[in-house]
C-alpha cells in the first residue's frame, strides 16, 4: 500500500510496527489483537445467524467496533465465511445452535492416503482429501463444477471486498494497515494435523507410521512456503502461523516430527524477506530455547507461560507478545485489568521488541466485558509510551 493513500495517523501507527520489526524502539508499545468478526457482529447487536452471511454488514460491524475501541489495528478478523461453507456442504466447520462456526473433530485424509499425499500433495488434496471434507464437491456432473465455481468466486470476491473495506476503515479511523495475518499458513505438521489427519489421528500416526508422517511433512513444506510467501509479503506484511501440535507431544517426538520442517518453514520465509507472526498456542515453556533459534525478529504471541522467563529467553532476539488473559477481561474489575496490563508492559516493554496482545482470540461479545477491553487499550496507549 503506497503511503500517499494513507492518512497521517495511519502512517504514524504503521511506523510503530515498522520500528518494532526493524529492531528499533518505537514511540509506544503497539497493540495487535486477535478479535473475531463474530465479536464485532454481536457488539453492534447483529445476529450471527443472519448478518454473519453478509460481507457488507460484517464490515459495518467492524467499522463501528474499530471506531469505539482504541486499538491500533482494524478490529475484527474475518476468517470464516459461512456462505462458503454452506455452498461446499462443509463437514469441518459447523454452526452451533447460536450460529457460531466451529470445528468438530473430522478428518479429510485416511492412513491409506499418505503415499499419494507424499507423492503430490496438491493433487492429493483435490483428488481425495477436499472432496471428503466438502461434500458439495462430490455432486455429480455439472453440479460439482458449479459448486466449485460458486465457492471459488465467493472466496475471491468476499476476500477482495473485505480487504478493501479494511483499508478504508484503517485510513478513516487512523488505524494501522498492518494486521496479524497479511497471509497465513500453518507449518507442515500442523497442516497435516488440523484438517487432514486431525488432532487425534496424528497422535496415533506418529507412533504407527512415523516414516510416513516425516515424509508427509517434507512434502508439505513447499506448499506451506508458497502459501506463506505471497507477492505482497515482506517484513511488515507478515504471515500468521498458528502453532498447534507441539505442546501436546513429547520433546523427542517434537524433535523428530515437528521442529525440522517447522524451522525450515520459518527460515524459508525469512530467506525470502518475509516475517512470521507465530501464535504460540498452549504452553511452550519447555521449547523456548528452540524458539529462540528461529530467524531473528520473529513475532511470538504466547498463550501461556511466565513473562519474565519468556523475555529473558527469547526477548532479545525476537518480538514477544501475548499472555494477557482474556478471562480477566470477563470477570475482573477495571482496576485488576489495568494492573495486569501494567505488569506485562513493565516486564515486556523495556528495550523494545514488544507488541501488546492477548492470550487467546476474543471470539464472542460475552468472552469479555467490553468496558474492561476499552480501559485496557486506553491504558496501554498512555502507559506504553517510551521516553
Amino acid at each position: 500500500m503506497k503511503e500517499s493513500f494513507l492518512s497521517e495517523q495511519t502512517v504514524e501507527i504503521n511506523s510503530l510496527f515498522e520500528d518494532v520489526f526493524d529492531g528499533k524502539t518505537p514511540k509506544r508499545v503497539p497493540i495487535l489483537t486477535n478479535i473475531d468478526n463474530a465479536f464485532c457482529l454481536e457488539y453492534v447487536g447483529f445476529d450471527l445467524k443472519k448478518e454473519q452471511y453478509s460481507i457488507e454488514k460484517t464490515l459495518q460491524a467492524i467499522e463501528k467496533t474499530t471506531c469505539d475501541f482504541n486499538g491500533d489495528t482494524v478490529l475484527g478478523i474475518t476468517l470464516r465465511l459461512p456462505q462458503l461453507y454452506s455452498i461446499l456442504k462443509a463437514r469441518n466447520f459447523k454452526m452451533g445452535a447460536d450460529g457460531f462456526l466451529q470445528h468438530p473433530e473430522v478428518r479429510g485424509m485416511e492412513v491409506e492416503d499418505y503415499d499419494a499425499l507424499i507423492a503430490d500433495p496438491y493433487k492429493a488434496l483435490w483428488d481425495t482429501i477436499l472432496p471428503r471434507i466438502y461434500e458439495g464437491l462430490n455432486e455429480p456432473s455439472f453440479l460439482g463444477s458449479k459448486t466449485l465455481a460458486f465457492a471459488f468466486f465467493t472466496f475471491i470476491s468476499s476476500m477482495g471486498q473485505l480487504e478493501n473495506g479494511y483499508t478504508e476503515i484503517a485510513s478513516k479511523y487512523g488505524r494501522s494497515t498492518y494486521t496479524m495475518a497479511s497471509a497465513a499458513s500453518a507449518e507442515p505438521l500442523d497442516m497435516l494435523s488440523d484438517q487432514l489427519r486431525s488432532f487425534s489421528e496424528i497422535s496415533k500416526d506418529i507412533r504407527r507410521y512415523p516414516d510416513k508422517v516425516v515424509a508427509a511433512c517434507e512434502a508439505l513444506l513447499p506448499i506451506c512456503l508458497k502459501a506463506g510467501i505471497t507477492p505482497k509479503s515482506n517484513r511488515y506484511n507478515r504471515t500468521f502461523v498458528p502453532l498447534h501440535m507441539a505442546p501436546y507431544m513429547r520433546e523427542k517426538d517434537f524433535l523428530k516430527f515437528y521442529l525440522p520442517t517447522f524451522s525450515a518453514y520459518i527460515q524459508g520465509m525469512a530467506d525470502a524477506g518475509v516475517g512470521a507472526n507465530l501464535f504460540v498456542e498452549q504452553d511452550w515453556m519447555r521449547y523456548l530455547d528452540y524458539l529462540n533459534e528461529l530467524p531473528k525478529g520473529t513475532l511470538m504471541v504466547f498463550e501461556y507461560g511466565d513473562a519474565k522467563t519468556i523475555k529473558e529467553k527469547v526477548g532479545d532476539r525476537h518480538v514477544v507478545s501475548g499472555l494477557y488473559p482474556i478471562g480477566l477481561l470477563k470477570s475482573g474489575s477495571e482496576e485488576q485489568c489495568i494492573d495486569k496490563a501494567k505488569e506485562l508492559v513493565d516486564i515486556f516493554a523495556p528495550g523494545g521488541g514488544y507488541i501488546f496482545s492477548f492470550d487467546k482470540a476474543i471470539l464472542r461479545l460475552n468472552d469479555v466485558n467490553a468496558d474492561n477491553l476499552k480501559a485496557v487499550f486506553n491504558f496501554v496507549h498512555e502507559y506504553g509510551q517510551y521516553k
Binding site: 503430490d120 493433487k123 483435490w126 506448499i223
Partner: protein
C-alpha cells in the same frame, strides 16, 4: 514460489498450454497465471 504438481501450472507451462504468442507473455502472465495463484490460495484456505 513454485510447487511441483500435476495440478499446478507455472507461468512457462501456462504460456505453452494456452499457446500464448511471445509478445503477449506479460499480459497473459497477469491474466492467466493470476488465476492459477488464486486457486492455490483458495486451496490453502480450504485446509486452514
Amino acid at each position: 514460489m513454485e510447487v511441483k504438481s500435476e495440478y499446478y501450472t507455472n507461468l512457462v507451462n501456462t504460456l505453452e498450454k494456452y499457446d500464448i504468442p511471445e509478445e503477449a507473455v506479460l499480459f497473459a502472465g497477469e491474466s492467466l497465471q493470476t488465476l492459477e495463484e488464486m486457486l492455490f490460495g483458495f486451496t490453502i484456505y480450504l485446509i486452514s
